[in-house]
């Protein structure tokens, strides 16, 4: 028995006519104002928003700006608001959406144009601020056997290392809407990742200096939109709660 892959749409049915309402704005144009523009296309089998947007650009409006890189849900470039919810456009299938689709750029980040936002600039700034790299005191020789690590620990670190810095968590964050300096779930998850890693010799005191205030772990209101929208399904709720407990205890001492 050969298992076949699932087709949601019946082969015989007429393709749906999709309307994509896209927020257009080119900051380079003088006196331009943001507005929605609607594009219509025929749905195709297995169509993703990556395919749909490229088709629109190739056949209807070559000026449309958006960001795709891997188109496989791995690189985090294409996060946008799909019907108001942050999501990776490349792996969003149109068959899972209604025939009226609304697309807008992620809020919070600097707008480059149309659906393209400058997440890279913000992520680099956050990395610099939180020093998201291994802080080791002793240099390690690459000629000798590596330091052993428990297999489960390596897997647990990878669990947190899977963040793709797409920005969905920030776009879905209540605090970030009010505090532009909030490090958000992406930042807190990174701290949790390096805190877990024995190769990083920073102490909780060091981490407290980085996130022990309202722009860090105490700014979180526990609305947890981040947790709901994370495309990698990272355990953001657990990580933030755990960090807050650790940092609060440290702050009280």
């Amino acid at each position: 028995m050969i298992p076949l892959f699932r087709h949601h749409t019946k082969a015989s049915s007429q393709p749906r006519r999709l309307t994509l309402k896209i927020l257009r704005y080119n900051p380079a144009e003088l006196n331009a104002a943001p507005s929605f523009q609607a594009f219509e296309i025929d749905e195709a089998d297995g169509m993703t928003l990556f395919i749909a947007l490229n088709e629109i650009r190739a056949t209807q409006d070559p000026s449309l700006q958006f960001d795709f890189v891997c188109r496989a849900g791995i690189c985090g470039s294409c996060a946008m608001l799909v019907d108001g919810r942050p999501a990776l456009a490349c792996r969003t299938l149109t068959r899972d959406l209604s025939a009226q689709i609304t697309l807008a750029p992620l809020p919070f980040f600097e707008l480059i144009g149309d659906l393209s936002v400058n997440t890279g600039k913000w992520m680099r700034g956050t990395s610099e601020r939180l020093q998201t790299w291994i802080h080791a005191v002793e240099p390690v020789s690459a000629d000798i056997l590596e330091t052993p690590m428990a297999p489960e620990l390596a897997e647990a670190i990878y669990e947190l290392d899977r963040c793709i810095e797409c920005g969905c968590c920030i776009a879905a964050c209540g605090t970030a809407q009010m505090r532009p300096d909030f490090v958000g779930a992406v930042g807190l998850n990174k701290i949790a990742r390096f805190r877990l890693d024995p190769r990083d010799q920073r102490s909780d005191d060091d981490f407290y200096e980085l996130i022990g205030d309202d722009s860090g772990v105490f700014g979180c209101m526990s609305l947890l939109g981040c947790h709901d929208v994370c495309p990698k399904q990272l355990s953001l709720q657990t990580q933030i709660a755990f960090l807050r407990r650790k940092m609060a205890r440290l702050g009280l001492n």
Binding site: F5, A28, Q65, V69, G76, L145, E146, M149, A154, Y158
Partner: protein
């Protein structure tokens, strides 16, 4: 005109570029990295299965060392690579993995005791040594004698890229994001940097540097069906070609990965087969053992892809509305293994196919995957033709991979070549040749020439549409310059591409708009990409033999007697419609491993007249040094250590060395 100055300018923010930048920075050079996208979005992140390095920690990797890795790599290349480079690489790869471990990459580790693995379709119990517990483990990959591929689940490239990118942030190396190098600043003998276009504003900036390194990755997007990211358009290689003096080597050597999901072309890792997955046909039959009794699903990628296409042609493909495919079956690996070690694969199957690979088979067909060819460099990464120009990673033809790259050797190459080439750039900058002596007139000329290119396109009202030309090029490449090639078909591909080049000079834009203008970007890039496509097609047409991934139906044998040489493609006159080819010979008499059978695939090579003589020499030397230690014996055959920076020359420690 804005001019930005640095010691080292690196074009490309993937693993190779970042690692080269770190090496140069560590030697005190001021480094600037340019990247089309935020560096953590680079295509390096898509490398799933792992990185080869002969640590030999796991039970199935025991006995592995640089010699075995070297030989696997040479056989994989079908003797098309540079054995000196392969030696430098095999020696440095273990250091690279260990350095990455120290930088935080959460490599999967050896778990002492018994565990079950699927080998050749059957569960096998493997016992891991207590002494190895917690060291970096490895999985099986195609074309290797040992389990050598170190991995982080199936997100290896992601974990490596984030660790290296974070190191470059720690080192304070600026990365100028959303910047595209559009031409090199040069006077025909010396490279002085690049003219760069800001992809947010459309502004042109001159970046002047003592050493310039192109690390822009591959050019898979000249094909329709490719696993490559949309940014892999080969523009870095194209601007080197545009100089007229820098050659692109072995452009016809294009790898097709056996398991891209059908029809989207998204990669699922070779780790699927390495971990025990099987290929099946329309009848559910496991067909690879019929063709390759020794290595089965784990022959090299060129061989497996070719066998798959042949099997489809024989009528055993599975038909669906998009065409024909085969099945990849990983259901036998079990849910737990897939959830832990193949989770990206699982996500990709869920999101793009709507299937659960723990219970359903994955529709796959080979798709373009990797460019073995690229900017021809010397072993230190210095490009042919222009002083001060370097290249590393997939953009370069360093020539580690020859005509077929082994899985797991590309992410390994990115970091290893970055370590070596970054050092070489620092050496260059510290030498008298590295002094910058450039006139502002030259910079201005280069800037104006680049600006004119864009203005001409932007103002053209020509009849041609860039999207259409792109589509025609990609179709031509996939249909006519693919896995199985044939003289007359290649000739018609060359003819089509030449006519596309002429048409691309008459592209008109439909819109004008301020800023970067994606339509202008596409119109400009397609003209570069067509040149690359012609280098591939013309190189393939002229190479009348089959070697590695380059398979000619009309010349099915590997012909060492006539074709043990590297194609060099030049584009001296911008008005040309096809490249000028020349060749450089690979010297059998310096090979540590003279040409022979690969251990898989066809066994019908036409021998080079020097092969027997060299084999006899090698045999004598091996006997002469039989009692010497491994590295002395090896050095007698091919001495490579002088080519490496001093700090990379040390022996690699392995478990059990002391006993």
């Amino acid at each position: 005109m804005q001019i930005i100055h640095s010691d080292v300018l690196i074009i490309g923010g993937g693993l190779a570029g970042l690692r080269a930048g770190l090496a140069a920075r560590k030697r005190g050079q001021e480094v600037i990295i340019l990247s089309l996208v935020p560096p953590k979005r680079s295509h390096s992140a898509a490398a799933q299965g792992g990185m080869q390095a002969s640590l030999g920690n796991s039970a199935r990797g025991r006995g592995d060392n640089e010699d075995v890795h070297f030989e696997d790599t040479v056989r994989g290349s079908d003797w098309g690579n540079d054995q000196l480079v392969a030696r430098m690489f095999a020696h440095t790869a273990p250091k690279a993995v260990r350095e990455l471990a120290a930088w935080g990459v959460p490599w999967n580790r050896v778990q002492a005791g018994d565990h079950t693995a699927i080998i050749d379709g059957q569960p096998v119990t493997i016992n891991e040594a207590t002494a190895a517990h917690g060291l970096i483990t490895a999985r099986d990959f195609g074309g290797t004698k040992k389990w050598r591929t170190c991995y982080v689940s199936d997100g290896t490239g992601h974990a490596m890229l984030y660790a290296v990118s974070d190191q470059s942030i720690a080192a304070g190396i600026p990365v100028h994001e959303r910047m595209e190098a559009v031409s090199l600043i040069h006077d025909g003998t010396r490279c002085h940097g690049a003219i760069v276009r800001n992809l947010m504003t459309g502004k042109l900036i001159a970046y002047v540097a003592r050493a310039t390194c192109i690390a822009t990755g591959g050019f898979g997007r000249i094909y329709q069906s490719t696993t490559n990211a949309v940014i892999n358009e080969g523009i870095g290689a194209a601007i080197a070609l545009d100089t007229g003096v820098v050659p692109l080597a072995n452009m016809e050597a294009v790898q097709f990965h056996p398991t891209a999901i059908f029809p989207a072309g998204i990669l699922v890792t070779e780790g699927c087969r390495g971990d025990g997955g099987l290929l099946r046909d329309v009848d559910g039959h496991r067909f690879m053992p019929d063709y390759e009794p020794e290595k089965k699903e784990l022959a090299s990628r060129d061989v497996v892809s070719r066998r798959m296409e042949a099997h489809i042609k024989s009528g055993k493909g599975v038909r669906n509305r998009f065409g024909e495919h085969l099945w990849l079956d990983i259901t036998l690996l079990g849910e737990q293994h897939i959830n832990g070690k193949l989770r990206e694969v699982k996500e990709i199957c869920q999101h793009f196919l709507g299937i659960d690979p723990a219970h359903q088979w994955i529709p796959v067909r080979p798709a373009q995957h990797y460019s073995m060819g690229g900017i021809r460099t010397r072993p230190d990464g210095a490009a042919y033709g222009l002083d001060g120009l370097f290249s590393c990673g997939e953009a370069a033809c360093w020539d580690l991979h020859g005509f077929n790259r082994l899985g797991g050797n590309s992410v390994a190459e990115t970091v290893v070549s970055g370590m070596i080439v970054g050092e070489a750039m620092a050496e260059f900058c510290n030498s008298s040749a590295g002094e910058l002596n450039v006139s502002t007139a030259l910079i201005r000329d280069c800037w104006h020439r680049a600006a004119d290119e864009f203005t001409t396109i932007a103002q053209s009202s020509g009849p041609e549409n860039a999207s259409h030309l792109m589509h025609e090029m990609q179709q031509t490449m996939s249909q006519k310059v693919g896995i199985v090639r044939h003289g007359p078909v290649l000739q018609s591909a060359v003819d089509t591409l030449k006519s596309l080049i002429l048409r691309s000079r008459k592209i008109g834009l439909r819109r004008s708009q301020p800023g970067a203008n994606p339509e202008l970007v596409l119109a400009w890039r397609i003209r570069k990409m067509l040149k690359l496509a012609l280098c591939v097609a013309e190189g393939a047409l002229q190479r009348t033999e089959s070697r590695g991934a380059h398979f000619r139906e009309d010349y099915p044998q590997r012909n060492d007697a006539e074709w043990l040489k590297r194609t060099l493609a030049y584009w001296p006159d911008p008005q040309q419609t096809q490249p000028t080819l020349s060749y450089e010979t690979l010297d059998v008499l310096t090979m540590e491993l003279p040409p022979g059978w690969r251990g898989y695939g066809a066994r019908d090579a036409i021998e080079h007249p020097d092969t027997g003589r060299r084999q006899a020499e090698v045999d004598v030397l091996r006997q002469q040094f039989a009692s010497a230690d491994r590295s002395t014996r090896q050095a007698a055959l091919l001495d490579f250590s002088q080519q490496l920076p001093c700090h990379l020359r040390g022996d690699n420690e392995r478990l059990g060395d002391a006993t």
